[in-house]
Symmetry: C2
Subunit: 378 residues, 2 copies
């Protein structure tokens, strides 16, 4: 049984590593011959819009899934016509557009930050006036890891800042803009849940996320100090969302905690960086549960393994020496096999411990290790 | 960094699955194009004695290791001359020969079953007379999974049984024979330990093994009801053995418990079926620790994960339906991607639980599932 994955990066690679023990085989489509899923899966190297390549990609494949939501519309349409695709294309469409996401959240009763869409320069000025500063201007589409967004600073001139944002974000190429009120949140968290075709839903323990420069730096599960009532509410919200979308697969929803309430931020219709800790920290990982879901198999337990507390740090730009990481007891290294490059996610490390402080301290040791200049794995 | 593995079966496959997250790449050499490690690693398809293929296999490889000990002597010699090889060839030589194994055990003070080597028919009769019935005749080399051995039954005629054993075991092709006294043991166990080039040694919790028809059926860790003193002694024996051999890698030693003493049976200079539970049941699996050892990296913890009790059942011949296995909570499926065939190890399942009875019961449910006629994974 072959699973097709659009994209051949680290998420596809970890899907293949999780699914191989289930007896599955994997075929990835990626424009780059260096795509790192190719180390453990068949790799079709082609542009996503190359229909001949898409045909080779889906031949004999049981189900097609995605490691990213920004699938070119033409490819998504072709795939939906020629193969079983999960999650549903509608979730992809919504996950590609920040305004659609917020509409979906609102439709199931989830609060969102105040926001206003804007396609033209004049609309952007009006939107900023309506939402009020401080605010943030984002492209509706194609943003990731803090790219495609500008925080508006009213000094020296708010009007000039709006014009500069409009010019730099190129709304014509990225589906327009959206102005969002800055939310002075207490915590950023994510809810990860899987749903299979029979409607079974499993929700992972809530994850707290910390970003640096717009890129996820650290995730901790279960999220510390979030009241049980809020945790339950978040899981319920996401369960409703999954049903509403008739979603099949793993869904990640990023939310803010502010006081005693939730503000939904965005969703990712795929396995998610904030769920990497589940490989060792949960009884069944997000990767295995995504595969179980899209193959309509019974879902696995999302409970924490008995360590009880997991902390994950992303390794960005380059890796520490392998021996340095492995010398830290209780730490699991995940090197993605990618070349070093500033700002690039090249690996992560997860620490499990019976208490929060120990898990955090182990990951802090990993984060403090000197980085090599190369791939870090010489 | 590329690790070369001689052999491309499930052990090589699980080595690749464990090592990929460390940023390693794998190249396997196997005579079969269907070798299942090829699903997740580069596969060189050739006979082990094909020197041109061996040269392609070792090009650019950091270290060569083995998934089986019966490496043809010519291949082992060629590899030792052209690449860094771990574990040491001497351990392979010893692991290939039941008499060498017993001599090694004796040299470090480990008791073995009474035994006598025999190359000719006359020597076999003399050996049986010396050892005494009941006894078992084994080929010194190339035996596995209960193959290459005959239990001598003195009815109707011991002499005729000896002749029949001599004829069926073909001693000229399998390095001669050895007659071993039957040990009325209480338990069969194995000790798994890893040692790296710096001499660091990590010993896994003792494993109890149950065989059916000569093939490992079930392993349980930690081995129930073995006195702490015996557990400590077994670990010490194996640590001495590792040092004595200057061994680098994972070593498995099969032993019998009889009353309050140990009888060493055989060793496997490689990752071992009785250690598959370590993938989920130990903090660092036998596969990852073997790789850490041969790359001279710090070893990982061999402690049980907090579940505390692991039971593994082999899936032999064919697999149950995937959905049936995954419906059992707390069970981890490992399908090797092999075609069904009677007597063939095609997968295993591991259950973790906080108590022995639950882990055993979960695996009993797996073992009782109906088997499909095909690969079980349709």
């Amino acid at each position: 049984m072959i699973v097709g994955v659009l994209g051949g990066g680290q998420l596809a690679r970890m899907l293949a590593l999780a699914g191989t023990p289930l007896g599955l085989r994997f075929r990835c489509l990626d424009p780059s011959p260096d795509a790192v899923a190719g180390h453990v899966a068949e790799l079709v190297v082609a542009d996503y819009r190359d229909e001949a390549a898409l045909a080779r990609f889906v031949a004999g494949v049981q189900v097609v899934t995605f490691e990213f939501e920004n699938v070119p519309a033409r490819a998504a349409q072709w795939l939906a016509e020629h193969a079983t695709v999960a999650p549903v294309p509608r979730a992809l469409e919504i996950g590609q557009d920040r305004v659609f996401e917020k509409r979906l959240f609102a439709s199931v009763g989830m609060a969102t930050a105040e926001h206003r869409a804007a396609d033209t320069r004049a609309e952007l000025h009006a939107a900023v006036a309506a939402v009020g500063a401080p605010c943030i201007v984002k492209t509706r589409r194609l943003g990731y890891d803090g790219k495609g967004q500008v925080r508006l600073v009213p000094v020296p001139s708010l009007s000039a800042a709006i014009d500069a944002a409009f010019d730099s974000l190129r709304p014509a190429e990225s589906g327009g803009l959206v102005v969002e009120q800055m939310v002075a949140f207490d915590r950023e968290v994510s809810v990860l849940a899987a749903r299979n075709g029979r409607g079974e839903v499993m929700v992972y323990p809530l994850v707290e996320n910390e970003h640096e420069g717009g890129i996820l730096a650290r995730s901790r599960a279960p999220a510390p100090e979030v009241p049980e009532k809020l945790v339950r509410e978040a899981g319920e919200f996401v369960s409703v969302l999954l049903r509403e979308l008739d979603y099949v697969g793993l869904l990640a929803v990023e939310m803010f905690v502010k006081g005693d309430r939730w503000i939904a931020n965005e969703l990712a219709p795929r396995v998610h960086n904030s769920g990497h800790w589940t490989i060792e920290g949960a009884e069944c990982s997000q990767f295995e549960n995504h595969l179980r879901a899209i193959l309509d198999l019974p879902l696995g337990s999302t409970a924490m393994t008995a360590g009880g507390h997991a902390t994950m740090v992303n390794l960005i730009g380059s890796l520490p020496a392998r021996a340095d990481v492995l010398a830290i007891p209780g730490v699991h290294l995940h090197a993605y096999g990618k070349a070093a490059r500033p700002g690039r996610k090249v690996g992560h490390a997860t620490a499990l411990a019976a208490d929060r402080a120990t898990a955090d301290a182990l990951c802090a040791r990993v984060a403090a290790l000197p980085r090599s200049s190369g791939s870090g794995l010489a």
